[in-house]
């Protein structure tokens, strides 16, 4: 489905499609999300404080409260196939403000994990995997940054794999252990040919 960023038309459409039936619910999903996120996702009472704190919400159709509701109701397909899942910036404001002491950000991370198991992931996230594999950084250093660092009296490269490339094989070993690079390459190839 083509991703529309219009608002509120896109929102209107989403809202029209908000009836769920028993067969839509997978109680296992709630258990899995709680297990991976290590947070009491089922305790959510839908007050909406999380969306109130969300910097992504006013700029998109992403509603963290909606994902919490899907976690509680076990709406696995709804949650994992919604492209909004990837719009969380993981700033943790909602986790800081939740009156139920839930970590909604971690719920999102758990859902992303589960989505990836079904090959549901935007290509730009996979390109980040490729970048980490090749340089050790999601956002590798560039000449603009190097100049800025020099101006601040810092080394041109930070003391990471950029400065010590000899540690890159260890990072690649971890990524390969989880077959992350192989899967990323496969999916990118499928999508982009």
């Amino acid at each position: 489905m083509a991703r529309t960023k219009g608002y509120p038309e896109a929102l209107e459409k989403k809202l029209h499609d908000q009836r769920y039936y028993r067969e839509d619910s997978n109680p296992e999903f709630t258990t899995k999300v709680k297990g991976i996120s290590r947070t009491i996702a089922h305790m959510c009472y839908q007050c909406g404080t999380c969306t109130g704190s969300c910097p992504s919400a006013p700029r998109s159709t992403y509603r963290i409260r909606n994902f919490m509701r899907r976690a509680v109701l076990g709406l696995e397909n709804e949650a994992l196939t919604d492209p909004d899942l990837w719009l969380c910036t993981t700033c943790y404001s909602c986790t800081d403000r939740c009156p139920r002491d839930i970590a909604p950000t971690d719920v999102i991370m758990a859902m992303r994990n589960l989505a990836f198991k079904r090959d549901i992931i935007p290509v730009n996230f996979l390109k980040t995997v490729t970048a980490i594999y090749s340089s050790g950084h999601g956002v590798p250093n560039n000449d603009v940054n190097r100049a800025a660092r020099e101006k601040l009296g810092l080394t041109r490269d930070p003391p990471t794999t950029h400065m010590y490339p000899e540690y890159l094989p260890a990072i690649r070993k971890i990524i390969d252990h989880y077959k992350l690079k192989a899967n990323a390459d496969r999916i990118i190839k499928e999508r982009e040919g």
């Binding site: 509120p8 929102l11 989403k14 809202l15 009472y45 839908q46 007050c47 909406g48 404080t49 999380c50 969306t51 109130g52 704190s53 969300c54 919400a57 006013p58 159709t61 509603r63 409260r65 909606n66 404001s93 909602c94 403000r97 939740c98 009156p99 139920r100 002491d101």
Partner: protein, 426 residues
């Protein structure tokens, strides 16, 4: 002869004292503040009838003052309790009032001449009082109190006082009272909104608590019943109420619902909307709990008046040079709203009275994890504490509204009377 000691003279304690005394049992009513009445005296109107709070409370306060079997001890606190059911010995400490209680007529001449102004605790900090003052005009007992911490000893009140009741020196007194049984009705303390720094109470001037709003819309309050923005002194054009501030909040260790805030916000919204029909009044809530007699109808009435009920909570209040900014998701439509209200009211919840842990130790009674008093049974015996002969009423047990506090005052009175009566017939 069995006496009963009632500790705390809010509406629950007043009701308990009146009921016990109606049976001819002598009652000692202990109150820490200089006047009886408690939090109810601070409120503007009461829900769901929109009765003026003071108009229904002050007849009871006067009944207490005039009752031959009730002795009021204001400015007093319980020091210790010895003995047991039927033969308690209650030691109370009476703080100095610097006024001769027997001769002061409450005329108020001293208040007029006093040159010192201090923030008034009774006005929730938004109004002022003098250094010699009555907390409010209907104080019972109707006498003044001198505040030695702020008095500058100018001497004007000594000269102006006709009966010469103002004392230069006064000291703490200790009193020992016999009691067959004790009623504890020490009430609650409102949640300190500064513990939720994201809402900016006391740093953003246009963010007030519900208790401050009560004083503001009260015709005898500091603004004479006019709603004012603290920043400009003008009447706001839009108001947002934020519910559940310090209630149903796990990180703060306050998991309970405060019972009254929904109805209190609806009541204040109705009062504001009736007086200012053009004002934009919004209540941000997570659940509206209008559960009592006539409450749901009251909620419907508020909706019909055009008060907007928005199901969604802001997480913080931001401010720029144009005013306040609240980001709220309408959770019924998923729409994000950026609101710019001119006044925000935080509906602060009820918590156990700050002095309760200390008091519970002196009384030898148990508290719950939440800090409220533990009773014998949460459903079947809500007035007996774990120590025989000590009963508890009002919001010391749990957050309650006025009708429930009155009812629990009555039921604690029945138990306390039974102990006193047994002693008398024995």
């Amino acid at each position: 002869m069995g006496n009963v000691v009632v500790v705390g003279a809010g509406i629950a304690g007043i009701q308990a004292a009146l009921d016990i005394a109606a049976h001819g049992i002598p009652v000692h009513l202990i109150e820490r503040e200089p006047t009886i009445g408690g939090h109810m005296a601070m409120l503007d109107k009461t829900f769901p009838t929109n009765d003026c709070s003071m108009c229904i409370l002050s007849p009871k306060m006067v009944d207490v003052a005039r009752h031959p079997d009730i002795t009021i001890h204001t400015c007093s606190e319980v020091e210790k309790i010895a003995g047991g059911i039927g033969h308690f010995r209650v030691t109370i400490k009476k703080h100095p009032r610097y006024i001769d209680e027997s001769t002061c007529t409450g005329c108020g001449d001293c208040i007029l001449v006093c040159p010192v102004e201090v923030y008034n605790h009774f006005d929730a900090g938004i109004g002022v009082r003098k250094a010699i003052y009555k907390p409010h005009s209907q104080a019972v007992p109707d006498i003044v109190i001198k505040d030695p911490d702020h008095c500058i000893e100018c001497g004007l009140c000594y000269d102006v006082c006709g009966p010469g009741s103002v004392k230069r020196e006064d000291s703490e007194q200790e009193l020992v009272l016999d009691a067959a049984s004790i009623v504890l009705s020490t009430g609650y303390s409102v949640f300190d909104a500064q513990k939720k720094p994201q809402f900016g109470h006391l740093s953003l001037p246009d963010v007030v608590t519900s208790l401050e709003l009560e004083r503001m819309i009260n015709a005898s309050g500091p603004t004479g019943g006019k709603i004012r923005r603290m920043s400009t002194g003008k009447t706001p054009e839009s108001i947002v109420f934020i519910q559940c501030v310090g209630s149903r909040d796990m990180p703060l260790g306050r998991p309970y619902c405060s019972c009254v805030c929904c109805m209190q916000a609806i009541k204040n919204a109705i009062l504001i909307k009736e007086k200012n029909p053009a004002m934009d009044v919004t209540i941000c809530y997570m659940d509206i709990r209008s559960y009592g007699k006539g409450y749901e109808e009251y909620y419907e009435r508020a909706k019909a008046l055009g008060i907007r009920f928005l199901r969604g909570m802001p997480s913080d209040i931001l401010a720029d040079k144009n005013g306040l900014i609240l980001q709220v998701e309408n959770s019924e439509t998923s729409e994000i709203l950026m609101m710019h209200p001119e006044l925000v009211v935080l509906s602060v919840g009820m918590g156990p009275a700050e002095s309760l842990p200390d008091l519970a130790r002196r009384f030898g009674i148990a508290l719950e994890e939440t800090g409220f008093v533990r009773t014998m049974h949460d459903a079947l015996d809500t007035t007996s504490t774990l120590r025989p002969g000590i009963y508890v009423a009002g919001t010391a047990v749990a957050p309650k509204d006025i009708p429930d506090s009155v009812a629990s005052g009555e039921s604690a009175a029945m138990r306390a009377f039974r102990d006193a009566f047994r002693l008398r017939s024995a």
